[in-house]
Point group: C2
Chain length 345, copies 2
Amino acid sequence: MSNQKLFNVAVVGATGAVGEQILKLLEKRDFPINQLKLLSSARSAGTKLTFKGQEVMVEEATPDSFIGVEIALFSAGGDVSKALAPIAAEQGVICIDNTNAFRMDPDTPLVVPEVNIDAINEHKGIIANPNCSTIQMVAALKPLQDRYGISRVIVSTYQAVSGAGARAIDEMLRQSKEVLAGNEVEPQILPVGSLPVKHQIAFNAIPQIDKFQDNGYTLEEMKMVRETKKIMGDESIEVTATCVRIPVVYGHSESVYVELKNDYELEDVKRLLQDAPGITLVDDPANQQYPLATEAAGKPDVFVGRLRRDLGHSRGLNMWIVSDNLMKGAAWNAVQIAEFIAIEK
Amino acid sequence: MSNQKLFNVAVVGATGAVGEQILKLLEKRDFPINQLKLLSSARSAGTKLTFKGQEVMVEEATPDSFIGVEIALFSAGGDVSKALAPIAAEQGVICIDNTNAFRMDPDTPLVVPEVNIDAINEHKGIIANPNCSTIQMVAALKPLQDRYGISRVIVSTYQAVSGAGARAIDEMLRQSKEVLAGNEVEPQILPVGSLPVKHQIAFNAIPQIDKFQDNGYTLEEMKMVRETKKIMGDESIEVTATCVRIPVVYGHSESVYVELKNDYELEDVKRLLQDAPGITLVDDPANQQYPLATEAAGKPDVFVGRLRRDLGHSRGLNMWIVSDNLMKGAAWNAVQIAEFIAIEK
């Protein structure tokens, strides 16, 4: 991206887990930055972070923070985005929002570059980054949708604790040590910090991510249903999800069952995925090779394997999809969107 | 079971993880034992175990071990069962086999007492105990099959390492300590001890349990397909499975999607499961109550929750099924069968 316009960029939530990854990626990708503004809550303001060898002071994010900013990446929670992104957008800032605040807003494009990059052209100042568990799934489903059509998706997730933030990682590691030492644990964060009941995550599987809705599904499960339809641009795709937290630090795994609209050859599916952007096919049962959370951690790709036909339904396909929830599931997808914006300017 | 005939009982594989649970249950249930014989491989012979306060010497299992025995519970691996169970059966011993050796043999009943106890009457000396992941699923599906009929099942499992034996538990705990200490790990057992490639299980999810078959499914996945049809007595039920090992010690969790043949009311499903033998319904989202592996560990029941209708398919139902894989998934199911045999004599 040499010989190109440089941008004034703000990162809102710069001290958080996703913000940290965004900064690393902006640096690594040599994003065309003129001026970089790091913003956070009042609590973290004053922290100094290093970007390309230079110290940058983190400032408190306020409505006045966005003067002169051209691109802002938000990952400081839904409330911060709701309060500040519309104000920034009104000032002409293009906001890329990592939270749930605007994802289902009909005026806000919900974008996974490999799936629906054209949607960014319809933005009105805010572009939403989908939920981590949705991003990796739709990235792998897109080549199948284009070639065969998709009628339904049944997904069960195996989600990492980093999706619940740094305190959830700490809790899981601390609990693991306690259990290994033969001590009792006192869960304090998971499954949902703001809810009263807590469950042990160490050496356990918790079938609750985010709050329950009136229909018995969790918000995380409903995000997968609604966001998939919106990103793939097809309200007729039926999605049902079971979202589960397991004791993994980085990397969501997903057991995805897809029913295609047309007949398929398994070898064609493998070729499609092999050639698809952002996808790495790891599918070699003879050598016990399949995607693993520990191997996806820190990498930008979506890893797909365990491809096999449903023996009872010839249009049914089982897949195992793994990706780093903080990378493609959050920071990398947001930076990809920022790069497309930069290229178009 | 007072005033009743006492039995000469042999436990083959008495020193293993499942054998240990069988002994505990025979003691706790006050099984009508005349003489108890503990058998094992030559390696473990000579070990002394305590049963009802008395020391019992473990002897090497040989073709001559079964003279005078009336009921034998096998859990010493498929090869031992293949070698010895037919010999014992010929001598009139009723063999309850926990291994995969005879499960799909047309002459061998495959029994989960809550589902198909009548099948034990057709035995020819050997009664097979199904695979752990199948047992807990069919126990929960049976009331739905009877009331609505089942057309298909799509299951993703979250399986505990104890299913792979004591050495796999040791490996998982040792690896966890290493990772927490910031050290590299050298996987040696999982996913399959006898195969060359090993993967880290600590803080990971491994989508391989047992060996891969030519069709791309693992043997564990194919067990769930075949055994479900046989136990439920309906070859038309379509089952597709993804079996995954996660870092949990005891208790398999399963995300099960069921498509029923007839319309259902969710409240009726809850009532059916609440009244079903061997099932404990834990389904109270408002209070964040659902089945958890850590809470199922050591208990005989199958725990079911997270019941909710597929929003796209009115006959589709999502369930979360959890049970201790060494209890209902192995030892308890075997002892239940032994109790039915004892009652019938």
